[in-house]
Symmetry: C2
Subunit: 232 residues, 2 copies
């Protein structure tokens, strides 16, 4: 095939290193041979090897540190999401925030039953802590339209991440992680009224969880997403 002959060297190296990792059953934390050793054994220049190595790094397979070596990373699909988002970014679509809200809505409601039955008391307690953090923002009168502190957004993100942290689906976890992380870039201003509503929505969810009442929980989730992205 033409590809065998023409295929760029760095891509062949890229594949060979992946193959090496698989054959040697390297686990996260394990190290690859040094750059020099790989160069020699594959018979390629340092330059080409580095192109392959950096490609492996950007796709989340390895990280390399001076003085240490090339280390296998844990599975992490963040790179996938960031690639995805960079494509979306490139499309210059200003409605991304709405798209994310919409996807989050569908995913969280679609998985709420699994989430409900996977959560332990410790998880619910942690979610409750986040609500407490949110509530602490209410006492401070800020005139109504001050941008919320990063702590509020973080608490909100942590609340939802925790909710789905025990669902046995690593892809769902990373998608939800990513969607909530993306919010940081859109740190919107909320009125006191909106803050109150947001907190109340989360309180309802928590209460249903402590009551161990799925139907109530499900209704609280639906309520949580009501008007969430219609208000704009």
């Amino acid at each position: 095939m033409k590809n065998l002959k023409t295929r760029k060297l760095y891509l062949q190296v890229y594949d060979e290193i992946k193959q090496y990792i698989k054959e040697h059953n390297l686990q996260p934390g394990d190290k690859l041979p040094t750059e020099m050793e790989i160069c020699e054994s594959l018979g390629v220049s340092r330059n080409v090897l580095r192109e392959a190595l950096k490609s492996l790094e950007i796709t989340g397979v390895v990280t390399s540190k001076p003085g240490v070596g090339i280390i296998i990373r844990e599975f992490n699909s963040d790179f996938f999401m960031s690639s995805l988002i960079s494509h979306v970014d490139a499309s210059n679509d200003s409605k991304i925030k709405d798209y994310i809200e919409e996807l989050r809505h569908v995913l969280e409601l679609g998985f709420d039953q699994k989430a409900f039955y996977s959560l332990g008391l410790a998880d619910i307690d942690r979610m409750n802590e986040q609500v407490t953090i949110m509530q602490s923002h209410l006492g401070v009168d800020n005139g109504g339209t001050k941008p919320l502190g990063i702590e509020f957004a973080k608490a909100d993100a942590m609340f939802h991440k925790t909710m789905f942290s025990k669902v046995d689906n690593v892809l769902l976890s990373s998608i939800i992680d990513f969607f909530w992380a993306y919010d940081k870039y859109y740190n919107t201003k909320l009125s006191t009224k909106s803050i109150e509503i947001t907190i109340e929505k989360h309180e309802r969810i928590i209460k249903a969880l402590y009551d161990h009442d799925y139907e109530k929980f499900h209704q609280a989730m639906i309520y949580h997403y009501t008007y969430e992205y219609l208000k704009k």
Copy 2:
């Protein structure tokens, strides 16, 4: 922050090029400046630039050809799909396919109403064509467990991609593209019976679309995902 100082040069360049693409609104087919020009304008060595460039290439953002230049690519998830799969292979997490099925299930059912009302007759016709392609695989008796041709998988993927192609959410489109692309790597063997069932499921969906009956369509979608990932 420490990261600002320590962040590897090639990663900074990687980001800057993405930024450049976005700012200049470069579209697929457009070209980046030559390597030399980028080196000069960013003040980095050609070596570092290439590490960034190859990282952009592996994530499917650009391709570079000798004598031509660096060309913006169309969105194509194949590259990082293969990365994801190598992770999965390495981590021995055989459940990734199930995770994807599960996500697809939730997303497609969650968006089916929007899809239904966004589809035009031409779209439905195209989906119908895909079903015809699937049916053409039935006539051939292959003994029951012959691997399906790539055409069958492609038709299935195209069917679903078309279904959601008019929903105004680029993220959803990308994710569905991604999930269906993944299937190509797991071209499973299906029994003749399974093929028949798969085709029937799609026929039901098509019929409901032509009848313009949302409730029937919704039921057909639910039926489509019944036993889809429980059968294993």
